[in-house]
Symmetry: C2
Subunit: 145 residues, 2 copies
């Protein structure tokens, strides 16, 4: 049985994955915008809140971001007074939350939790437990560069 045009797309997991992801990202962006930060920045604050310190390039690997793109990001967070960047060796930078960053990280945590809760509750109970493991199986840690 071939279908209406909606069904064509709604039966392609890859396509629906893209649409679902973009819908959720835009919802999260809306929740974060009062804090004046974007999603990547929120994620960085979250990581630093849990981990205290991480080198800039380790953070790149953790988040799947290219070093070249991390630089302006980290500079912006530093300019906002949210993180410090300290040299460990002569080539590595170590990122750490400031007082102000730590406070903001707390607010981020609340927003993310509520966002994740709302997300998971949209999925019917029978499917919920299967969702995260399925997604993790698609997560691809590819060595870039």
């Amino acid at each position: 049985m071939q279908q209406n045009p909606d069904d064509l797309l709604r039966n392609l997991p890859g396509y629906v994955l893209r649409r679902a992801s973009s819908a959720m990202m835009s919802k999260l962006a809306a929740r974060l915008s009062p804090l004046g930060i974007r999603q990547v920045e929120a994620t960085i604050l979250l990581v630093l809140a849990q981990q205290r310190k991480i080198s800039q390039s380790d953070l790149c690997r953790l988040l799947g971001i290219k070093r070249a793109n991390m630089t302006p990001l980290a500079i912006r967070l530093e300019e906002q007074g949210l993180i410090k960047r300290q040299a460990t060796d002569g080539r590595s930078l170590c990122l750490e939350l400031t007082e102000r960053g730590s406070l903001l990280a707390g607010q981020v945590q609340i927003i993310i939790e509520s966002h994740e809760k709302a997300l998971i509750e949209r999925i019917s109970p029978e499917h919920r437990a299967h969702f995260l493991p399925a997604l993790v199986a698609l997560w691809d840690d590819q060595e870039s560069e």
Copy 2:
């Protein structure tokens, strides 16, 4: 129990959704690149192959793309000789595959099918059936503009 930094992120469905989506998109892009087309363009060919005709703005609604962004897309497809654009009323344009577009759509179909198959096979069998319904629940048809 709190965790290593990987687990922090891997336990956030929204974040994992983003990473999974971006991983799958880059895999698909790699498969499509020999055809010289991007994912949106592939999707448009697919829709037109199933539906023969669709107006440009209906296509926008179907794919969640803004009219302003569809224009250059459609023009490019037309310049490549893959679609025709014909006026229906004085303001609407109707998109339709050319012979050449139809041939390419066939190749796209093969690539997408194989991509979707590979995607779904990465998910362990117990979770597979739950994946698509969960994603569809997150798909958000928001009226833009």
